[in-house]
Amino acid sequence: MNLEKVLFGFFIVLAATLNFGFFIGEIDRPELHNVYELFAAIVVSLIATVLKFGDRTQIGAVHLSTSLVADLQLIAAAVTWAVAVHVTGSGMTPEITASVVSLSGGALFANVISVVILIVETVMLRR
């Protein structure tokens, strides 16, 4: 029972689930997408990225790259949200909500790949 592997798996799955939780719901209704969930998704995604540092294998490299993609998309979603609400003052119109949610959808896809890689790695170990 390897504590390091437990933590590693925990954060990767948590990142994917939080992301999914934010994504789910109609794409153009802002009240269905909670900003705190986006916040949590970003934080856990960053932590998961840092955990993937320093692995020199090919699988490790792909893992890290999917995490970076997910981070990028989520941060883009957060920035879009902040610009819409604070900078331009237009508030969360359906169009902007759709942009935010679709960006998080992209991040979700990367997170799913990450989870798949995790499963494949685990199965390969066979123990």
Partner: protein, 569 residues
């Protein structure tokens, strides 16, 4: 570089996660704690965006102030918690970075990867020198003077730091590692296309043996010169085909025997194989007769073995009473007068202080000189630190193992033609050698001359080749004119010309040169680049041959005005 990057990332994981968590908790808190309006009524909390902005400039200790409006007390309370949390986390991260940078293992990785990168980017032919003690440094300095590139692999850290103080012409890539490990040799460029040779010069012959085997196996085309101390290891090295095995003791003993039997030949060999730029050695004339050898180690054995065929009988003085069956052996160090008298110092013609302790050797030499002032004293100096003592004592012949090995290596590396010339010397008579030595000494101003070779072919001597293609012939004397003032000669001479496998020794001044000739020259250091200029630059060559100091357009004049060519001769 990759491994360094990954190392940094791994070490930084904990601080980075701590930082992310601290930020997350602070921002979340700030976005939940209710604010207050200017008139005291409660207001909703900050948005996540504003919270993030606030925490950013608070954590980095910039501190703009409370935005967008003054904080409520609850917000201020939470802000205090945030400040301590985030600032401490930032400090933790900075300290981790500092500790990482100072970590020895990290620095080693950094240095090693930098070294590997520099070796990979080497574009000129280079030598790999394993072991940079006294011998190694002598060779490095000479190679540097001759303009060759090299890479150093040395085990001792302090030695490597001392190398930094040496004044080399270029920055030499140096690796602190054990050369007997194949991985280190590979990183130092064993399989690099421009690797020209490997020199195994460490103090440990087993290590040299390992280096030789590694080179033979991993890259057989690269020549390897290895230093051996005992005949056993030398035989071992020869068995798998080491290109050159250098045994300082054997070589010195050979020279000593040559000096006894053919002193003029020996003098010429000495002048030509010395380390360039050092003062000319004085003339040695060891006598025939009976000799005493103090110390029967590898050196003592080699000396007796080489002197015996010259008809020199010997008595051995050894602490273990060791000795060859053909000589009388005495027990003792040789440092006391009684032992020496017993050994026959009064009738002996020469004495060799061959032990491995410098002070003993000096003592033996001084005692011998006191007892018999006419005896020829040969001393062995083991450490260069004692050089000043040996300089002052001024024995008739001083053997410094490191210097001999260095000279041998340089002779092999720098000029292969020299080996042929030296082999030819053995077949000549004494008067010839004496004449040549005087000529060389005359041009060399008291210092050992530089000996180099140059071939008249397209890359090394383009102008000369061009001229020959046009049908112009010039002779040795022409080439030896100083290209600054053609009425003077360079302080150098042509020792030998190799043409299609045949050697022409000491050509006359009017010997005509042909394309493809290889010339062996000896002269002062400044002549080499100057001669290169003559051979490579059309204007210089034209000036030297005809005396015309023309600018552009001379090519046409030269081609279409053949009468000016012969006029200057």
């Amino acid at each position: 570089m990759n491994s360094v990057f990954f190392l940094v990332l791994r070490r930084m994981r904990a601080p980075l996660i701590a930082l992310i968590v601290a930020y997350a908790v602070s921002v979340l808190g700030m976005s939940l704690v209710p604010g207050v309006n200017a008139d005291g009524t409660p207001a909703p909390s900050m948005s996540i965006f504003h919270a993030f902005y606030f925490i950013s400039y608070t954590a980095t200790t910039i501190g703009f102030g409370e935005i967008p409006t003054a904080f409520s007390e609850a917000q201020r309370m939470w802000a205090t918690v945030c400040i301590y949390l985030t600032v401490i986390t930032w400090s933790y991260m900075i300290l981790t970075i500092l500790a990482l940078v100072q970590d020895k293992a990290f620095q080693q990785t950094l240095v090693a990867s930098r070294f590997a990168r520099r070796v990979k980017h080497l574009r000129a032919p280079f030598y790999v020198i394993c072991g940079c003690g006294e011998t190694g440094s002598l060779i490095c300095r000479t190679l540097d003077t001759l303009g060759h590139d090299f890479v150093i692999v040395e085990k001792d850290e302090y030695r490597v730091q001392e190398l930094d103080l040496e004044d080399f012409k270029t920055d030499i890539p140096t690796l602190t590692a054990d050369a007997s490990l194949p991985a280190n040799l590979l990183v130092a460029g064993l399989r690099h296309p421009k690797c020209r040779g490997v020199l195994a010069l460490t103090n440990n012959e087993e290590c040299n043996l390992a280096v030789a085997i590694t080179v033979r196996l991993l890259n057989p085309q690269v020549p390897v010169l290895a230093r051996a101390r005992t005949p056993l290891v030398a035989g071992n090295m020869a068995s798998f085909g080491t290109d050159h095995i250098i045994n300082g003791y054997e070589r010195f003993a050979e020279y000593l025997a040559l000096a006894v039997s053919e002193p003029e030949d020996f003098r010429l060999v000495e002048i030509l194989t010395g380390l360039p730029g050092t003062p000319l050695p004085e003339v040695h004339r060891p006598p025939h007769g009976h000799w005493i050898v103090c110390g029967y180690g590898s050196f003592g054995k080699a000396v007796i073995r080489h002197l015996a065929p010259m008809g020199i009988t010997s008595t051995v003085v050894d602490p273990d009473e060791d000795g060859p069956p053909t000589s009388r052996s005495l027990r003792g160090l040789g440092t006391e007068a009684s032992t020496l008298i017993d050994a026959g110092i009064m009738e002996a013609r020469g004495i060799v202080a061959a032990s491995d302790d410098d002070i003993n050797n000096l003592s033996i030499a001084m005692t011998a000189k006191e007892l018999n002032p006419n005896v020829f004293v040969v001393t062995r100096q083991n450490q260069s630190a004692n050089g000043v003592l040996f300089d002052t004592f001024d024995a008739d012949f001083r053997m410094v193992p490191t210097r001999i090995v260095a000279q041998e290596c340089i002779a092999i590396l720098a000029t292969p033609l020299l080996a042929r010339f030296l082999a030819g010397i053995r077949n000549t008579d004494e008067t010839w050698s004496k004449a040549v030595s005087s000529r060389v000494e005359a041009i060399c101003d008291g210092l050992v001359p530089v000996v180099w070779d140059v071939r008249i072919e397209k890359t090394a001597a383009p102008a000369a080749c061009e001229a020959m293609k046009k049908g112009l012939r010039f002779c040795v004397g022409d080439l030896m004119r100083d290209n600054a003032n053609r009425d003077e000669r360079f302080p150098a001479m042509v020792l030998m010309i190799e043409r299609a496998g045949k050697d022409i020794v000491l050509p006359d001044d009017d010997f005509l040169l042909e394309s493809g000739d290889a010339l062996l020259l000896a002269g002062q250091h400044r002549v080499r680049p100057a001669l290169e200029l003559t051979m490579q630059n059309m204007h210089a060559l034209e000036y030297v041959l005809t005396g015309n100091d023309a600018q552009g357009g001379w090519l046409w004049r030269w081609l279409f005005a053949p009468q000016s060519k012969t006029a200057a001769h």
